[in-house]
Structures are given as C-alpha cells and as structure tokens.
C-alpha cells in the first residue's frame, strides 16, 4: 500500500493502556497513525513499536482538556488531507463516593471525557466530511449501563457518551461517517492499577470468563470497528467485558 492510500487514524491516550494497544493493532492493520497524549517519552516508545509494522507515525504531546491545543492539533492534521479513524482513548477514572467528590473534580472529569470528546468529534467529522468517509470510536465503560457504587461521577460521564454516540451516528451517517463506542469491563491498565488484589479477586468472581481483560482484548474490537468488515455498523456500544455483571 502506498502512503497516500493508507488509512490514517488519530488515537488519543496512545501513550499506554488501551490507546497504546490500539495503536499497535492499527499499525498491524497497515494504517498510518497520529498518536496523542501528554507524556512524550512514552508516546515516542509506542511510535517506535508501531513504525516496525511499517506505519508512518506522528506523535503530538498535548493536554486534551486544553481546547485551544486541540484546535492547533487539527490545523496541523488537516495538512495530511486525510483522516479516516478517530479513536478517543484518553481519560482517567475517578473512584470516589458521591459525598467525597468535589465539583472541581467533576468538572475535570467532564472536561476530558465529554467536552474533549465533543470537540474531537466536531473537528474530526469536519475533516472526514470532506472525503465523505470516516469512523469515530469512543470509549465508554461497563459502568455506564450497570452503574457502580463509588463511581457516580465517572459512570455518569461515560453514560453521556451513549447519547453522543447514538445521536452522532444518526447525524453523521448521511455524510458517510460511522460512530460507535466500546464499553470495556475490568481491563488491566494504569487506570485500574490501584485496585487491591482482594478487590480484583472479588471482581473476577463477577466476570463470566473469570479473568481480567487485557488492553489487547479491547484493541482488537477497536481494530474490527476500524476495518472494512464493520462498514455497515454504526450507533453501537460494544461491550468488551468478558461477561461482567456488576
């Protein structure tokens, strides 16, 4: 495949976890990549691995809560004159009961998970509309539909992505843009690193497949959503949770 015809994917949160696994997955699928996160060293490591699969990789170090930086990112990206896939993995989890959550923490959570997601969808869809083709993949969570005590802020913002995914699928479908989300269960990344062994064992008991998921388990489903095999699929929230019932 020549570079000009390779699909280009923008992946946020690509420095580690699900985003990093997705970068490797899409590199294996032959895509060129733009990788975004705040840590330049980790991003550089991921980029190097992806290049070994023949991908052209550009890294951008930025904080997605800064809307101006996001605009600059897309001003640079539009010079590529192509954007086929956006996979928005960047995020963090707030594990706090209702009484212990400050409004500024809530605001920060909403800024990265909803505001940045919204702005990314706005900017990416405009580039994709030019080519009448595109694919947006958002990261929801099992807790969005199941709820989780101690995660009311996190689960509510993840649930908001369901409305966003379903509405954008309808709104952007006429210009050839698909919009789907994945809803991971318990995945072994930095995000869940703070869980005690006891808590993990308790959660594994609730997982039908009796194991914690790996970032690659999610990345492969994202890889499918970014492949031609999913070209008639939009407005779906795909659970990747090993049969987790909270």
């Amino acid at each position: 495949m020549s570079t000009a015809t390779k699909p280009l994917a923008l992946i946020t949160g690509a420095s580690r976890g699900i985003g990093a696994a997705t970068a490797k997955q899409l590199a294996k699928q032959g895509y060129d990549l733009w990788l975004v996160a705040r840590n330049p060293d980790l991003l550089a490591d991921q980029a190097e691995e992806c290049r070994q699969h023949g991908s052209s990789v550009t890294t951008k170090t930025l904080d997605l809560t800064d809307s101006q930086s996001l605009k600059v990112l897309f001003q640079e990206l539009q010079k590529e004159k192509r954007l086929h896939h956006l996979v928005h993995c960047a995020g963090f989890m707030l594990d706090k009961p209702l009484m212990m959550t400050s409004l500024s923490e809530l605001q920060h959570l909403y800024t990265i998970h909803l505001q940045a997601t919204f702005q990314l969808c706005q900017l990416a869809s405009r580039l994709m509309t030019r080519q009448r083709f595109g694919n947006l993949v958002l990261l929801s969570s099992k807790v969005a539909s199941a709820g989780s005590a101690g995660q009311s802020a996190y689960s509510s913002v993840k649930a908001s992505l369901t409305g966003l995914t379903l509405s954008l699928a309808k709104e952007l479908g006429p210009v050839g843009i698909r919009v789907n989300a994945v809803a991971p269960g318990l995945i072994e990344t930095n995000l869940t690193e703070h869980y005690s062994e006891e808590k993990k064992a308790e959660l594994i008991e609730k997982i039908a497949l009796k194991r914690i998921g790996q970032p690659e388990d999610v990345a492969q489903i994202i890889g499918f959503l970014c492949s031609p095999a999913a070209s008639y699929m939009t407005g779906q929230i795909l659970g990747v949770d090993g049969g987790f019932s909270l």
């Binding site: 897309f74 539009q78 405009r126 580039l127 509309t129 030019r130 952007l172 210009v175």
Partner: protein, 80 residues
C-alpha cells in the same frame, strides 16, 4: 480562479445546485437543498477549498452567502 468564483463553485458543489443560484442573499434553510446535512458539507468544503479551520462561532454565524464572505475575510481571504 478568484476567491469569489471559488466560493460560488464550492457553494454550488456542496448544495448540489446550479452556480447561477448562488447569490449573496441565498440563506441557510431558505431552499430545501441548504439543509443541516448540506450545511455540514458546505463547511467542510469551504475549509478544504480555502485551506482553513473555521472557529465554531463562525460556523454558527455562517447563515448566508454574504455572511460567509464576511466571515471568510477574517481568515485573510478577499472577496471583491
């Protein structure tokens, strides 16, 4: 091609109407061809034609051909 000609051509392509129908007075939702989907295509095509990234506020204000010229002038484009 002048910027005015490029603009008219872009409107005609995005709204899928004859270029002769592109007048300054033509406004969003005033004809069935300029609906919300066509508006999305129009914005994307204008950005591609003039190699710019519009601010969201400018997209919201882009309610007629005349308004588009006024807004695009902010991006160092001249329409005579």
């Amino acid at each position: 091609m002048t910027n005015t000609e490029k603009l008219q051509q872009t409107f005609a392509t995005a709204l899928a109407i004859d270029i002769n129908r592109i007048t300054d007075e033509l406004a969003y939702n005033s004809i069935k061809e300029w609906d919300s989907t066509a508006h999305m295509i129009l914005v994307a095509e204008l950005e591609a034609t003039f190699d710019i990234l519009l601010d969201t506020d400018d997209i919201i204000d882009m309610s007629s051909v005349a308004e588009s010229k006024r807004i695009l002038a902010k991006y160092d484009l001249r329409f005579d």
